[in-house]
Symmetry: C2
Subunit: 165 residues, 2 copies
Amino acid sequence: MHITQHTDYALRVLIYLAANTDRLVTIAEVSQRFDISRSHLMKVANQLVREGFVEGLRGKGGGLRLARPAEQIAIGAVVRRMERGMELVECFGHDSNCLLTSNCKLKGVLATALEAFLQSLDRASLADVIEAPQKKLLYFAKPDAPPPARKAARARAAKMPQSAG
Amino acid sequence: MHITQHTDYALRVLIYLAANTDRLVTIAEVSQRFDISRSHLMKVANQLVREGFVEGLRGKGGGLRLARPAEQIAIGAVVRRMERGMELVECFGHDSNCLLTSNCKLKGVLATALEAFLQSLDRASLADVIEAPQKKLLYFAKPDAPPPARKAARARAAKMPQSAG
């Protein structure tokens, strides 16, 4: 069972923006920090803007920022809006071939479980997942001259207290 | 978000066996009824046997049957055992590239939601999803001369009362 990469990246962009609320963040910067292709991130960012999670300012000095405080962005809302296919199994779609489709009770059982999953995510906000030390790890005051992404992250991570296990 | 086809097919096999408990069911029959490749079903059935959900009797006149009553098989248990990848996002795996991995709170939030999903599925048994009219639709007394799968299913479905919507 997987969440799509599209939603995964959307969550990373939001987390990064939530850790850097004092300035605009460019797609190039996020691309570098997370080692994700710029074109893929562009699609993710465009949808985040369309869905009202992010504001995008064009032109020189432009960039992305959260459209509302991190406390007001539920992780469940992000997954509901960004996840393109919520068809847990074939029969959730329109072109089901399954013999059972017309009277299947399994579909209802799976739909209830999916709702339980999303409601659990509704209870966590972007602010909840960006508490220290996460926020400190992700805060970059000087975006114009960032060090290589992985190396910097590892160096910062090495300085942070690690949780056991 | 999807459940793998492997798990989807496993649930279909179990539902079919639960509707036909008065006899052994062959893989050829399930393959025909659901229009699923025999080799794929063989892998699914082998794992169902290994996991203790199904008993397989070899040889002429052999076939598959539930290893225990449908009331004692939780849908959640089937999904937990059959679903090969429970890595909701990249960072659940061992080779995560994400900058956030070392201190990520999102991982915990997603893991909690996944558990809510599975616990919801734990509350439904195979018997719950195979109540009439589902069971009647799937019961085939004469497996040796089955009519073409889709046609028979549609004919039976047409005779069943359809739920609104």
